[in-house]
Structure formats: structure tokens, C-alpha cells
Amino acid sequence: VRIDEAHALVLQVLRASAVPYAFIGAFGVMAWAPPRATNDLDLVVVADQSQFSQLRAALTSAGLREGAGVGPAEPTDTLPDIAVFWLGASPSIRIDIFIAKLPFERDVVSTSHSISLGGTTAKVASLEAMLVYKLLASPTKDRLDIESMLTTASTAGRAIHWRQVRTWAIDWGIEDRVDEIAPANS
């Protein structure tokens, strides 16, 4: 299975399910920076138990296999924090579905952008949300993604809403990381 085929299939299921979502991860970065190769799909969905059960059934019907997920961190929670699905074999494509539990994650979906993609539309996280995700992660690759997004925004003359980035960063307690990348007067 090619990753573009996996992406098209997942997008088709999402659109049919009407579950609010946004692509994050490499696809979120690529919306705002030069493309780079990736071998998985990451997205966040806003879904309750019933909606997620329907989405899970739709993904399974489309040929995806559910693997071991992550969480829930909260013992009383019935949904995983990250549901992990696989499509195809040799190589399998991994699809990480983050189920929105935090206000930040719900904001990521509500502030997502609709983009034209291959004759259809897809929702991707905003540039500001992607900066916060990458600041949270912090390893070298993520820092390169940040530089890449900032450089592209600068070249394209795209304004970054630093106030939004700071609001989310303060909630996460990582405002010092924003200071490292934001213009001094932002």
C-alpha cells in the first residue's frame, strides 16, 4: 500500500463519518513547509464513545487493522488517547488517531484549515498549532520542522499569530520555548 493511497482512503472514511478532524504530524508540517517524506499519518479527531465506535467500524470496514494504542492516561476514560491503525503489508502504513481530550486538541480541530487536495478538501492543523506540537516534542527533527515552517512563512509573507501560539504554550507551560523562536516584539 502506498502512503498516498492510505491517505486517500482515510480521508474518504473521515469525510463519510462527519467526525471533526485535522491532520497533524508530517502532513500538518507539509501544509506550511516544504514537503518531506513520511511513512505514517497522524490526525486528531473530536469524538465521543459512540462517534469513535462508528469511526473505528468504518476504518475497519475499509481494510484497516487496529493495533495496540496509547492510553487512556485517565483510568475512568473509555477511549484510548491514541488509537493506532495499520493498512496493508510490506510495508504497512501506520495511522495514529489522537482522540481529542484536551482543550488544546479540540482547538486544533476547531481552528484547522480546509485545503484543496487532489480534487477534494482536507482539514489540516493551523501553522500556529503545528508550531506548538513541534515545540512540545522538541527533538532535533521537530526543531528542523519548526525552522522549515518559519522560513516558509517568512518567504511567503504569511503572518504568524504569535498570540495564539503563546496562549497554547502558556497552557502547556512551554512559553520559554516560544521565546526561543518568536520575534522579540511578538
Partner: protein, 73 residues
């Protein structure tokens, strides 16, 4: 190295270089959807790379990370 394998690897590397160069050159002017389409093409090409190995650890739970950060001294 098997000449057929070497030729395939060279062909793949050239195509990847070309696509990366094109993508970087017009990144600022391209629409987000165009960049993602290029990224999908780039990724599909990388998947075909001879000897490619794809492994990535599971990401952390954001609620767990949030709780950890909120509870830190």
C-alpha cells in the same frame, strides 16, 4: 552489488533528488494542498527505496504529558 539493484537504487535517488529540489524551490509559492500532494509523491517514492526500513516509536499520550507538565514542581 547486483547491477539491476544498483540501477534501481540510482534511478530512485535521482528521482528523489529532483522532487526534493523542485519542492524546496517553490515551497513558499505553493498552496498547502500542492505541498502535501508533493509530499505524498515524495513519501511514496521513499517507500519504494531499496532496503527502506520504516519504524517509528508510538507517540506519547498528550493527556499524560499534560498531567506531567502540570504537576511538575
Amino acid at each position: 552489488m547486483d547491477p539491476r539493484y544498483a540501477a534501481k537504487k540510482k534511478q530512485w535517488a535521482e528521482a528523489l533528488d529532483r522532487l526534493q529540489a523542485e519542492s524546496a524551490a517553490d515551497a513558499a509559492n505553493a498552496e498547502p494542498g500542492q505541498r502535501i500532494s508533493r509530499g505524498l509523491e515524495l513519501s511514496a517514492l521513499t517507500q519504494q527505496m531499496p532496503g527502506a526500513i520504516f519504524e517509528k516509536p508510538l507517540p506519547p499520550s498528550l493527556p499524560a504529558l499534560y498531567r506531567l507538565r502540570k504537576n511538575r514542581p
